[in-house]
């Protein structure tokens, strides 16, 4: 059915050869417009979202900043920042990476690209409407679901297109082994619409009574991270690490264990945002347990990635894709173990309600997921536009600005959050001291925001150059350094 390439069907060999390459070329070409559309809009919203975040960060240390306008008040900028980044940047970028990976791994050219192009356009309309809605005061103050009720159905329709497309792609995939990345992609593409629809029906369209809302809210918010971003991020890591270094994934069995334990335990994690909160004790305890159980998938995946990389760490010196991806994969391990520890009630009672949690969120969304997305884009975009990244130096700048920026941000928020939390916990301490402890770290966080935004501007600049094919044509890939002599013939990025 739908035979994409007669040539490629003649050769079932797993060895790379020209036929496989031609098949891949056809597939990549078919994904070009929808994937680039998602990427371009995502990068736009990344810049918008980061700017919104930067202003809100500076408002925390300078409350009089821009305080005369209702639409620039902290309570609107912050949700606008979160939603722009979650739904404007991370989700479309994840969809773009996911589409490309799905097409490649299902080994068929992308079907029904019009469906995806409409989805991209509708999605961005929904985001625009939603962000403006929050700024003019229609935000709902339900965390991660702030978009007003008039924008969420638009987003859902757009997403439904993508869900349908996924099922079609998997239905018509080329038979054969289903690679681990595909499990994650398939699951993520189906989990997300379910999550989004449930949460919107129960919290936005036909809201349930107040007492039930917190549980559903955090079930949703945590699962967007756990069952949507994380699987896409892991799918990308599972694809690009072996792809770039050219050796198989360490263990199929570890992949299986990691996938199913993630599916089972992550979905139960949400209530750890409500430890001590107004919910029956068993719900919270179940989430505490599930959060601790996350140790299993995280350590399993970490072993699997590490053992695959073993002996190939020198590749990080030359491959931009691998450097970003490995940075993200290591951050995934760190952020997940930190998340598990934060579910321990004795620690949670200190860190809950403080900047520590904000640091954790950025570690997850930026150091892990965003870095993986950047790495994936460095690999995918040249294959879609037929142009090489114009400057390895700028990529290096992007990497170091991102890495330093996010580590500074997370470090500052973590330390400041701990001090703030101890002050809030200590019965003898005043509320004022919690602010005074946190304040210098909030200034540092504001500075780190500039660094991150600078890195993103470099990336956006590179991306625009790619789209317009600016600069002199390059023959080889943009690499940080020349690979070691003996691997010269296998430079593959």
């Amino acid at each position: 059915m739908n035979s994409p390439s007669l040539l490629s069907s003649l050769n079932p060999s797993t060895e790379p050869d020209a036929l496989d390459s031609i098949e891949r070329a056809e597939i990549d070409a078919s994904t070009r417009i929808p994937v680039l559309l998602f990427f371009a809009s995502a990068i736009f919203w990344l810049l918008v979202g980061s700017s919104l975040g930067l202003v809100s960060a500076w408002k925390m240390t300078n409350p009089a900043l821009l305080d005369s306008f209702s639409w620039l008040t902290f309570g609107r900028l912050r949700p606008a920042h979160l939603n722009a980044v979650i739904y404007g940047w991370a989700t479309p970028a994840a969809i773009g990476v996911g589409l490309w990976l799905t097409a490649r791994l299902c080994r068929i050219p992308l079907l029904h690209s019009k469906l995806l192009i409409s989805a991209a356009i509708i999605w961005n309309l929904g985001i625009l409407l939603g962000i403006c809605g929050i700024l003019i005061g229609d935000g709902r103050s339900i965390e991660w679901l702030e978009f007003p009720a008039y924008s969420t159905p638009i987003l859902f329709i757009a997403y439904a297109f993508i869900g349908i497309w996924t099922i079609i792609m998997f239905r018509f995939r080329k038979p054969g082994h289903i690679y681990v990345s595909q499990w994650y992609l398939f699951a993520a593409f189906l989990w997300f619409p379910w999550l989004y629809a449930t949460a919107n029906i129960l919290l936005v369209w036909q809201p349930v009574q107040g007492p039930a809302q917190g549980a559903i809210n955090w079930w949703y918010a945590h699962n967007v991270l756990g069952l949507w971003f994380t699987p896409i991020g892991l799918a990308a890591a599972y694809y690009f690490i072996p792809k770039v270094i050219g050796r198989p994934i360490h263990s199929y069995y570890l992949s299986i264990l990691g996938f199913w334990s993630l599916a089972l335990f992550y979905s139960w994690n949400g209530m750890h945002h409500l430890i001590g909160g107004p919910f029956p004790a068993w719900m919270v305890s179940a989430s505490v347990v599930a959060s601790m159980m996350m140790f299993i998938p995280v350590i399993t995946t970490a072993i699997n990635h590490h053992m695959t990389m073993r002996g190939h760490f020198e590749s990080l010196q030359w491959s931009p894709t691998l450097r970003f991806i490995v940075f993200g994969a290591v951050s995934y391990t760190v952020v997940s173990l930190q998340g598990s520890s934060m579910a321990i009630p004795a620690l949670n009672t200190i860190t809950h309600f403080t900047d520590y949690t904000i640091g954790h969120a950025h570690l997850g969304l930026y150091a892990f997921f965003t870095m993986i997305l950047f790495g994936s884009m460095y690999y995918i975009v040249p294959r879609l536009v037929g142009w090489e990244w114009p400057s390895a130096t700028l990529i290096r700048w992007h990497f170091w600005l991102s890495a330093v920026g996010i580590l500074l941000m997370v470090g500052a928020l973590t330390l400041g959050g701990l001090l703030q939390g101890l002050a809030l916990y200590d019965v003898a301490s005043t509320f004022r001291s919690s602010l005074e402890f946190a304040n210098p770290f909030r200034v540092l966080r504001g500075i780190s925001g500039f660094i991150l935004l600078a890195g993103q501007l470099v990336f956006a600049f590179l991306f625009v150059q790619m789209l317009l094919k600016l600069g002199a044509p390059k023959k080889g890939p943009a690499l940080f350094t020349k690979p070691a002599e003996q691997t010269n013939d296998t430079v593959a990025i």
Binding site: D20, Y238, P248, S251, S255, A281, S285, V288, V491, A492
Partner: protein, 250 residues
Amino acid sequence: MSSPNTPQEEPFNESQPENEVNIVNIHASILREREEPRDGYEPIPLWLITVFFAVIFWAGIYLAYYSGGFSKEVYNPDLVSWQGGGSAVAAGPPDPKVIGKRLYTQNCLVCHQSSGQGVAGQFPTLVDSEWVVGGDWVGDNHLVKVLLHGLGGPIQVKGATYNNAMPPWSQLKDEQIAAILTYIRSEWGNNALPITPEYVKTIRDQSQDRSDPWTQKDLKAIPSETIPAGGAAPAPAETAPSAPAEQPAA
């Protein structure tokens, strides 16, 4: 496995015209790619499997202690955990009186106070009350019924009149109701026979049609009965739960 894999074709894109759409040309980068990812088949390390089971074991223990008996009424797992038992020291089977006290603290103390004395004029005393230990027209069956469905309107306790409402506690399990009742019947100088979970079940089955809280008038219409000594359930409850109404009043 660790050595670099098979070499690739060299890019061959030099001579093509720049603006001609040629898939091979545009996708030169693809031709230098390595093979698509494959799976290796190393076994799962034994220590990881051990850790996995250790974590599962820990999870079970944790849930037992901090699940509040999976009740939707328990918000603070430190007050009531699994079957009301479970504390920092968890040796041996939990003492029923300790369970009863915990449940009482959790559910009843707000009104009836830790002394059991209630609040004069508002919440009736439980100490030596005929409603608790039996006496006058009140039997053990009435006591259980009050717990299950609540009580409203004017009532007489030890000669004093109270006009207030007690909420139903039917959401508690038979074991929990029995523990509370056993506790209040043996505390503060009270000395009546324990109430067994089986007896609570019997009464619950009997009066399952009741939806409103009881009134003193309704209760008086039901003949009183006393739980048999020895803690065993009344005989009919074991064999024919549908017929306990015929259990003779003591």
